[in-house]
Structure formats: C-alpha cells, structure tokens
Symmetry: C2
C-alpha cells in the first residue's frame, strides 16, 4: 500500500467498513466522542430521554454526584449543539426545565446501542482484564 491509510490488508467478511475518504480524516467518529465522551453528557441525555426535568431534578437523577458547575457546563454545551432545549420560567424562585430536542432524542438509539454492547461484553472484558493483570503484575498500564 502506498501512503498508509485505512489499510486494506486483510478485509474481514461481513464487517461494516468505516470509510475515511481522505487520510487525516476523522471519519466522523471523533465528532460524536468529543460531544459525548466527556464525563457527564451521556447521563444528561439518558435522564432527559425519560422526560422533562428541572435543574435540581437532573442533578439528583444523575449517578455519581455531578457538581453544579459541571451540570451547568454540560447542559450548556448540549444546548449549544441543539441537543437539549432549555426553557426558563421567570418565577420566584426561578424554574428552568430541560428536555431533549428531536435531534437529542435521536441520540437515544445510539446510547442504547452503547449500553447494550457494554452490558453484553462486560463479563468478557472483566475476565480479559484479570488474565492480563495476572500476567503483567507490575505494569502502569491501567
């Protein structure tokens, strides 16, 4: 192969092909991961998939104690990307509701796929890790 990219070494049958037209192309994958790969975004999507939530509700619903700051940031970014809609009711005390947009809802299928794969392979991965860790007692890889 001339200039190395997406090597066609040993094409596997029945395998979806992820095509990167040009070298140095990110195949679109990097995009999604930059958006959902952070610590909290998926959780926001998951919780909002079930329905409209207020700020505090969202914060309580998300597993793992998200800080107020992080929830604000996360939800703002999702809003900026058109995945979440934010509506403010100018009452006292203020009430702000968050919900997924249509595009946001389309994400749900994606997340479901992720969750399914994870759950299906969790045991196998755990096993692989144990084996590897046993074979490599002192390694900083982790």
């Amino acid at each position: 192969m001339s200039a190395g990219h997406t090597a066609v070494t040993t094409p596997v049958a029945g395998e979806p092909v992820i095509t990167c037209e040009t070298p140095q192309d990110e195949c679109g994958v990097r995009d999604v991961l930059d958006r959902l790969g952070d610590k909290w975004s998926v959780y926001v999507v998951v919780e909002l998939a079930a329905g409209v939530l207020r700020f505090k509700e969202l914060q309580r619903a998300i597993p793992g104690d998200i800080s107020q700051r992080m929830l604000t940031l996360t939800v703002r970014r999702l809003e900026r990307d058109g995945l979440v809609k934010r509506t403010v009711h100018p009452t006292i005390p203020p009430q702000v509701e968050y919900e997924l947009t249509d595009m946001g809802h389309s994400l749900t299928h994606l997340v479901k796929t992720l969750a399914d794969w994870s759950i299906a392979h969790r045991p196998a991965i755990a096993a692989a890790r144990e084996t590897w860790d046993a074979a490599h007692p002192d390694s900083d890889v982790r």
Copy 2:
C-alpha cells in the same frame, strides 16, 4: 417520584428505554465510554478493523499524528480489555502485529453506528452552534 432517578415524567413513544436498575448505576454506558472515549482508541479499532497492522503502520494510518507513547498506551489498554491481540515476531528488527479479537470486531458495528449518526447530524449541529454562538457573543462555554 420518590427518590429521583430515571424520572418517568413524560415517557416518549417509540423511544428505547435505557434502564438503570439502581440509582447511582452507570447503565453500562460509562463503561464503553471509559474505554473508547479517550483520544485514540476508536481510531485504533477503525484501522485494525480493516486488517492486521504493525506498529508503525498503525501509527501512520491513524489520522492526527498520534505519538508513539500514546499509541503504545492505547494499544496496551485495548489488549488488556481483550479487544486487541498482539503477536510478537522475535526478529531483528522486531516485528509486532496488531489485530482485533472477535470481541474487538464486534465493536466495529458500534463504531459504525457512531460514525453514521455523526455524519447524519453534522450539518444540523454546526447550524445549531452558529445560532447559539451568535446569540451568546461572549460566553466561555465552548
């Protein structure tokens, strides 16, 4: 709803439900993201999906100039998780080949789904961003 979790506020029709049995459960999603959410793992999977590659080949194939250190780390972690198989040919100079395991190959479908979603919604997201950025001239959210 008593103690807030996975609120059942406004269930949406025809929407996959991501169930978290217990509060503070990560629904399995965090697992995958911890594994593929980093900067390079997906690329390794994508390139190896096409066939067996040596270290240098892999490095050249991946878009965005991955450092040698990062490629080593990434590939080691994937190996630890049982997603990548590493075979060493004790020659001079050394020759090391990387390939996906069966489980690794099962990831390809997942990645394809990600890529597809990304490409499909890229324009919409770009538009949403422009709108938002215009409406919020001075914001550190980005």
